[in-house]
Symmetry: C2
Subunit: 235 residues, 2 copies
């Protein structure tokens, strides 16, 4: 069992068959990247510890040296995605548009990673670094807009909740702007008794309308305007 012996041709062959394709050593970063790759390609349901291990040419147990639990891994994946959100420094003159831009971008990033928004719904309190960066920026903007501490605190929570929840909602509706989901709901509403549900049946078209991000913008306007009114900044 010397160190020279395993370097022979025979040993190289043997070693190649015994533990073959592990080029780089395992690391927290590589694990999180692999996990995000799986979410992108196959969705959150496919994200299992075994699947991540497989992606890295190893087993599930090996991951636990770098990651405490699956819950932690999912949080780290979400934080990695948040990296893609670029932040601007708060500007009192345009804070409302800044806030909207930030939330639109957050939604966009979440939706670009399949149903990753599901993770964001669970992780409602920002504890990972980039999630906290976003909260920090948002708080700055709200304070720049003249909101007092408590209103800004409630506001950042409210806006984050709205964004993640609508992104989750959208991601369950078949990914993109698929009309397949809309059509299924609409045809279901057609089978519903008109006398018991006169509103729903008569408004079926308005209820199932789902044109891109119009719905998101609708709520965004109400929320930002409502927050602005709290500080007397509203026009």
């Amino acid at each position: 069992m010397t160190s020279a012996a395993p370097r022979s041709g025979w040993s190289e062959h043997w070693q190649k068959e015994k533990a073959p394709p592990r080029r780089q050593p395992l690391s927290r970063e590589r694990i999180v990247e692999a996990a995000l790759r799986i979410v992108d390609a196959e969705g959150m349901d496919a994200l299992s510890m075994r699947r991540v291990g497989q992606e890295l040419g190893t087993g599930a147990a090996s991951l636990y040296a770098h990651v405490g639990s699956k819950e932690e891994l999912v949080e780290l994946v979400l934080d990695l995605a948040y990296t893609e959100i670029e932040l601007e420094r708060p500007d009192p003159a345009t804070w409302q548009e800044q806030v909207k831009r930030l939330l639109r971008r957050s939604r966009q990033v979440l939706l670009s990673h399949r149903d990753l928004a599901r993770a964001a719904v669970v992780a409602n309190v920002p504890v990972t670094p980039h999630a906290m960066d976003i909260a920090e920026a948002m708080l700055g903007m709200l304070r720049a807009g003249g909101l007092d501490e408590q209103t800004a605190a409630y506001g950042v929570d409210l806006l984050g909740l709205y964004t993640t929840a609508t992104a989750f909602e959208a991601s369950t509706r078949g990914g993109g702007d698929s009309e397949e989901f809309t059509e299924r709901i609409r045809s279901y509403f057609d089978t519903v008794p008109t006398d018991r549900y006169p509103m729903i049946t008569s408004m079926a078209v308005a209820l199932t309308r789902n044109v891109g991000d119009e719905r998101f913008e609708f709520g965004l306007d109400i929320l930002v305007a409502g927050l602005a009114r709290q500080s007397g900044t509203a026009g």
Copy 2:
């Protein structure tokens, strides 16, 4: 193997040991009630098909004769809970307070069943009868308030999303008004670098303040007022 033989004392005893405590036959209703009982006592994580079977003195497989899948069962459980929400007929004069009452009550019912709100977050489109009753009532109130079809449609979605998402959020924070969660977050924020997160660290108190339903009311006011403004009904 006649029908008389098994009625002897011996057979009765034997039968009692072989298939003992199944008094009533299994039914959809009994299954859903048992499931809600489990959620109340042990939470959504404890709700498994085997656990429901056990609650009824049988196995998991027997449930599938009455319920298509676990997903459907969860939806039925949620619908059963919605039964507890009493609905008023829309009144144009007080529609804003009506809407708020309805949403407060919805939140209250969700929170009274542990973390049942988790199910409500997933089931964002009302398809079960009582969920549709609620949506119907809400639409009536919004229309009574003078909102046009599209605004009312977006509004009912927005308000439902807000209520279920905040209820879910609250249910993850340790059930009741437990200060244990608040304290954990607050002490975590104390360990965070002040230079990178000046806002978060300086506003830690405001951010972690969680006094009962104050937070919920804050968002509720903004949303209802924002919707009212869309119809020119705002005061």
